[in-house]
Symmetry: C2
Subunit: 213 residues, 2 copies
Amino acid sequence: MEKGNIKISMAVIRRLPKYRRYLEELLDKGIDRISSRELSKIIGFTASQIRQDLNNFGGFGQQGYGYNVAALYEEIGKILGLDNRYSTIIVGAGNLGQAIANYTNFEKSGFIPKAMFDINPRLIGLRIRDIEVMDSDKMEEYIKENNIDIGIICTNKERAQDVADQLIRSNIKGIWNFAPTDLDIPENVMTENVHLSESLYTLSFLLKHNSLE
Amino acid sequence: MEKGNIKISMAVIRRLPKYRRYLEELLDKGIDRISSRELSKIIGFTASQIRQDLNNFGGFGQQGYGYNVAALYEEIGKILGLDNRYSTIIVGAGNLGQAIANYTNFEKSGFIPKAMFDINPRLIGLRIRDIEVMDSDKMEEYIKENNIDIGIICTNKERAQDVADQLIRSNIKGIWNFAPTDLDIPENVMTENVHLSESLYTLSFLLKHNSLE
DNA sequence: TAGATTGTTAATCGATTAACAATC
DNA sequence: TAGATTGTTAATCGATTAACAATC
């Protein structure tokens, strides 16, 4: 999380995927250069913030010219680690797990689902695309033998911590957690939570308090 | 978004669901009072922040005692608007749409899915639980006739803005967007985005930059 | 009452924005 | 070269934390 020794704040990190997404759109439109001012207009961050953000990682622009869209897109991809491939497993083969298994966009970005795991005998043996649902009993062994990088937790909240403990024992590198609970995870295992109900409740708050105006 | 005239920051709003979740856990354990200091230990925010956050909405505590768990849980629910019922529709009946339709926890919190919509003839007529997948052509009419509050966009990014425009024309109050794009939406329609790929890329960043240590 | 803990003001910290010299 | 725009430092703004008087 550094350039030399400089710590990058989470606020900056979370803006990077958005930069990349807008740059991809520009690429698709055949635009090959852009200034922070123009980018500001379409992305909604200030030009100053854009320049600050990018300069955390290096001087990607050129005075008087701006930024080369293709090069910047590429650079941000590298910063985000999207030049890597990651092997993933999906734990919990219910609706959400299956939805993620079916969502091929992640695979295009280098996140390759190798297997799914579930405790429900009726799901074991099922295949989502070419991804097999295996018995959770075999998970720890599978992770170690297949060098799995990321575990995606799509179980209910009751099972989530047990699954996390198994993943941690198997030396997983990262956990993407969809279960509506906060997991207890050691510092060296990176975690990212997707708490859907928190997002929905935020919307609910906005609905309630906006309509008062 | 106010108490009197005071504006509540998004940072505070986004912490509210987490307070509620931890309070629910305490309730389940039969704990009926808690101090900001104790809550701080389990939730990970500072005690000072907890008191500041709550005092945006009122003095829910009592000096020398702390907070009543049940009462505070209830209050935060009201602040979040979870004492309301919301009628929702899910647009896009693919894997993700179906996963959300099947996730009964949202329904328990008052978000009632009334119908799903899709353009794919093979999906139209399908029922997820008791929720019918209808032809997207009928969506605008349906929203108006059934007083739908929230539209949940589960289409691909290409269709998302068109769907949003339809929702807006039908006077929807809020949009929960799962499509990987930023939508152009008027200020009076509340929006909450769930950008899964941004979350995954953030995890990727952390994996890459942490392993350098 | 004495102890505990809130509610709230003040201090600090960090993130965003503004400004401008450097330079393409 | 002159104009444009970056990279970077300084100023501002907002959010978090600390401190403590109020009070249960």
